[in-house]
Symmetry: C2
Subunit: 504 residues, 2 copies
C-alpha cells in the first residue's frame, strides 16, 4: 500500500485511538464516542488500543484516563477530538508531539460559523506535523468491519411513553460506502440503509473538509476490498480537478453515485449558510460528473435505489430493456419511465415472438398474453409462466436487461415464482430488477424475498425502471471506457463467491 | 339528486344486488364476490338484498340460488356479471326484462381481446333498456361505507411456509376516491393505501369502459359527501370533451389528481395491447388536464403523495415556501426541489428576520442557526425551537406554506415537537408538510405521529417538497378560478368537524 493510503487507513483501522474530550457524562458526544470504542473492543470487533483523554477524570468506563495526549506511553495512530473549538489548536500541538497519523475533529465552531482563522490555524499545525485531518464539524467515521464508530448521535431514544426505540441504527456489514459532506444526511442514510437491510462497508462524514476531501477518499476506497459501490453526497467541491481525476480512476472498477445538493439558487444559498460552501454552476457539476463517470441522481430515493441495483446486479451492456408483467397498467408505467430515462422498450425479434407463440400454442402462457414487449402474462399468470417468459427474454441477444413486475394480487400466482425467476436470472449475465406494488404483508414479503435472492425490488414500476436506468448508464460508461468486460467478470466472480459462502 | 346520478348510485348503494355466476367453488371470482356481499351483510355493513344466480345450485352460502335473473321476485338495482363472455348478452337481456338500473361486467373476453362486436352487442341491449354498464373486463366497485365489494382478488394468500398473509387488503374508510382504468393498478392502489393508513371512500375500476366512463364518474363524485380527493388513473380518454367538462365542474370543489400512462411510444403500444386503448399525443393530455384543473403527476409515488397532502392540508395561496430544518443537507435538498417545482424559497422579510434575531438574543434558538430560509435550527434543536420557529414563519404574511424537516437523529430533540408544531399549524390556514428520513423505529414513529395529527409526512425532503407543490398548484388553480376562498372555508370547516368528532 502506498504511504498516503496507509496514513488514511489510520482513520478506519487504527492500532490505537485516543478520544480527547472523553467524559462520563451521558449524552455528551465525548461519552458516546468513547463508549462506542469500549463496547466494540469488549465484543472483540475493535482490536486496537483505546485511551480516554480528559484532565478531570481518572477512569472512564473502566479505562485509565490521561490528562493529555503526550502522557500516553504507547504509539498513537488516531485521535478523535471532541472539545470546544478554541482549545483544538492546543490539542493538535499535542497530537503533533505524539506523532499521530490522523485526527478527526468532531467539534464545530470553525469555518461553518465564520471562524475561518481558527480552522486555518489548526490545519497548519497538522500539516506541519504530517497529520491528516477529517472535519472539523463532522460525524467522523463508521467502519462496519473494524468497529471504528464515532457516531455520537443517540443509538436509541426514549419516547414520552417510556418506550425505547432505535433512533440512529448501524446498518449491517456490506458493500456500500457512504462519503458525505453533510453529517445529518449521513446519519439519515445509515438509518435508511439499516431499515432496508442494505449493508454498509464504510461511512465518512467530512463536514468542513479542511484537509481530507472526497477526492482522496475515492482514491482510498478504490483499494478497499469491502467497498463495491460508493454513495457520494456533496454540496460543493473545492478541488474539482482532483475529484475528477480520482473519480476517473475508480469509476471503471466501482460505481460512484452522487447526490449533489445546492442545484438551485435557494439551494446554493442554503448550502452557503450550512458548511460555508460556495456552490458553482450546476451544469458544470453535471458535465464534470459525466466526464468522470460519476452517476448523478435526481433525489434521495434514486440515490439509494441506484446503489441497491448496482450492488446486486451487473451493469447492462446496452439500452434495450424487456418488461415482463402480470398487470397491464403497471407495465405501461414501467415502459413509459424506461423510455423517459433513455432506455428502449424494443419490440422483440421475430425469433423471440415465435417462442412466445409456441408457448401460447402449448397452453403454457395465456392465449391473450401480450408479447411484443412489455410481455403481459395477464391476471391468469402462474409461477411457471414467469419462469418461461423470463427464460425467453433473457435468451434474446438484443435484450440487455429485464424489468420484472410481479404484482402478487393475481389469484393463481404463488410466491415461489420469485425463486424460479431468480434461478433463470442466475444463468445469465444480464441485469434484472423487480417490482411489486403494495404496502401490506404479501407485498413486503415478495420484495424481501427478491432482495434476499439478489434481485433488487422496488415499490413502484417507475422506481424499478429508474434503478434499471442506473445499470444501463453505468454499463454504457464502462463500454465507452473499454472496461465493461473486466468489470462484469469481476462482478460475477464476486457474486459467485458470495453465493458459495452463503451455501456453506 | 338528478335522475342520472340516482342511477349511478345503484353501483355504490344498491337496495338489491344479484351476482350472476355466483358459485360455491372457492377461488372463483363468482364465489369471492358473492361471499364479500354475504359477509358485509352479516356484519350489517351492506344493507341491501342479495341474490346468487346460478342454474346449477340450490343454495350458496345459505342464500337460495336463482336459475336466472327473471326468477327473482323483488326489484333489482344492480347485477354483477361473472360468467363467460359469450353468455353475457343473454344475461343482459334478462337484466333488461328485470328492469335493473345498473350492471357490472367483471368478465373479460371482449374488446380487450378483439371481440369488439360482442361488446357492442351487450352494450346495445343495455342501452335500449336504459341499463348502465360498468366494464367489461374490470374489478368493479368497492365502497367502504355501503359494503359493496366486488374485488375478487384473494384477500389473503397462503405462503408455501403455511403462513396466511394479507394479499389484497381493503383500506379503512376515508376521503380518497380511486377511479381507475386498470384493475391491477387499482388493486395495487388499495394495497398501498391500506398499508399507509390512508382511507378510501369509493373505488371504481372501468376496464373497457363500454358505457360509464371517468367523466360521468367525476360528475357523480362531485355529489359524494365522503369523497374529498379523487385519484384518476387513465390510459386513454375516449370522450375528451366530456372529461374536460366534468372535471372543470368538480376541480373547484375537489382536487382531481391524474396519473396518465402511455406517455411514450412504448407506453402507448403497451396500452393498446392492454385495454385496446389508442392513446393520443401526450401533450394534448397535459394541456387538457391543465385547462380542466386536473393535477397531473409524474409517477405512482407522486400520485399517492399528492393525495395525502390534499386530503390533509389546505391549498397554498401562493408560491412562497418556508423551510424549517434541523439538518443542513436535507434542508438544501428540500430547497432545491421546491425551486425545481416552481415554488419560491424566498428570503424572509426584515420583520421575520428580526423575530429570529430576537429569539437568538434571548437564547431561544441557537446563535448560529441560519434564518434566511431555510431556517436551520442545527443539531442542537429542541422541541421548543421548532415550535417557536414554526410560529414565526406561519405568521409571515409573505409565506404561503411550510416544509418542515424534523430529522430525529439530533440528540436533544424529543418527539413531542410533533404535537407542538401541529398545535401551531392548527392556528393558521396555511398548509404544512413534514419529513423525517430513516426506515427504522424512530423514523416510522415520527412519520406516523405527524400523519395522525393531520400533517402529511414523507420519507425524503424531495417527496415532501413535491407534496407541497401539489398544494401550491391546486391553490393557484383555485385562485385563478376565483374559488380559493370558498374551497378553503369548506376545507377548514370539514377539518374542524373531523377534529370535534375525534375528541368526542
Amino acid at each position: 500500500m502506498e504511504a498516503s493510503l496507509k496514513q488514511l487507513d489510520a482513520f478506519f483501522n487504527p492500532k490505537s485511538v485516543a478520544v480527547v474530550g472523553a467524559t462520563k457524562k451521558i449524552n455528551k458526544a465525548g461519552h458516546v464516542i468513547f463508549k462506542n470504542f469500549v463496547e466494540n473492543k469488549r465484543r472483540g470487533v475493535f482490536k486496537g488500543e483505546i485511551y480516554p483523554v480528559n484532565p478531570h477524570e481518572d477512569y472512564i468506563l473502566g479505562f485509565p484516563c490521561y490528562p493529555k495526549l503526550t502522557k500516553i506511553a504507547g504509539e498513537l495512530d488516531l485521535v478523535v477530538i471532541v472539545v470546544p473549538a478554541n482549545i483544538v489548536p492546543e490539542i493538535m500541538k499535542d497530537a503533533a508531539a505524539k506523532k499521530v497519523k490522523a485526527t478527526v475533529i468532531i467539534s464545530s465552531g470553525f469555518g461553518e460559523v465564520g471562524n475561518h482563522e481558527l480552522e486555518r490555524e489548526v490545519v497548519a499545525i497538522a500539516k506541519k506535523a504530517g497529520i491528516r485531518v477529517l472535519g472539523p464539524n463532522c460525524l467522523g467515521v463508521y467502519d462496519s468491519q473494524t468497529g471504528v464508530d464515532m457516531l455520537f448521535l443517540p443509538e436509541t431514544k426514549i419516547l414520552t411513553t417510556g418506550e425505547e426505540v432505535v433512533a440512529t441504527p448501524r446498518p449491517m456489514m456490506g458493500n456500500i460506502a457512504i462519503v458525505t459532506q453533510s453529517g445529518a444526511f449521513g446519519a439519515s442514510a445509515l438509518d435508511y440503509l439499516a431499515g432496508r437491510q442494505m449493508g454498509v462497508s464504510k461511512f465518512v462524514s467530512f463536514g468542513n473538509k479542511s484537509d481530507v476531501d472526497e477526492a482522496e477518499m475515492l482514491h482510498y476506497l478504490l483499494h478497499d476490498n469491502e467497498t463495491k459501490v460508493i454513495l457520494l453526497y456533496v454540496e460543493d467541491v473545492k478541488n474539482g480537478r482532483a475529484l475528477i481525476e480520482a473519480a476517473s480512476k475508480i469509476t471503471c472498477k466501482k460505481p460512484v453515485i452522487a447526490l449533489k445538493a445546492g442545484k438551485t439558487e435557494a439551494g446554493a444559498r442554503a448550502a452557503a449558510s450550512h458548511t460555508g460552501a460556495i456552490a458553482g454552476s450546476d451544469q458544470v457539476y453535471t458535465a464534470a460528473f459525466t466526464q468522470a463517470g460519476i452517476l448523478r441522481v435526481r433525489d434521495m430515493e434514486e440515490f439509494f435505489d441506484a446503489a441497491k441495483a448496482l450492488v446486486m446486479q451487473p451493469p447492462a451492456a446496452g439500452r434495450n430493456i424487456a418488461i415482463i408483467t402480470d398487470a397491464g397498467g403497471p407495465g405501461i408505467m414501467a415502459a413509459d419511465e424506461c423510455e423517459l430515462q433513455g432506455m428502449i422498450v424494443k419490440k422483440f425479434s421475430e425469433r423471440t415472438l415465435q417462442k412466445f407463440e409456441r408457448l401460447k400454442k402449448e397452453g403454457k402462457i395465456p392465449k391473450f398474453a401480450a408479447t411484443t414487449n412489455p410481455v403481459d402474462l395477464t391476471g391468469s399468470v402462474t409461477s411457471e409462466m414467469y419462469e418461461l417468459a423470463a427464460e425467453v427474454v433473457f435468451q434474446d441477444p438484443e435484450i440487455h436487461g429485464v424489468v420484472l413486475l410481479g404484482l402478487h394480487h393475481t389469484p393463481a400466482l404463488q410466491e415461489d415464482y420469485i425463486d424460479k425467476v431468480a434461478a433463470v436470472a442466475s444463468k445469465h449475465d444480464k441485469p434484472i430488477v423487480a417490482c411489486d406494488i403494495g404496502e401490506t404483508e404479501m407485498a413486503l414479503h415478495v420484495r424481501s424475498r427478491f432482495d434476499k435472492l439478489g434481485i433488487p425490488t422496488y415499490a413502484s414500476p417507475e422506481d424499478a425502471a429508474r434503478a434499471m436506468a442506473a445499470l444501463v448508464r453505468y454499463g454504457l460508461y464502462l463500454k465507452k471506457k473499454g472496461c465493461f468486460e473486466e468489470y462484469l467478470r469481476n462482478f460475477l466472480r464476486e457474486k459467485r463467491k458470495r453465493a458459495t459462502q452463503q451455501t456453506r
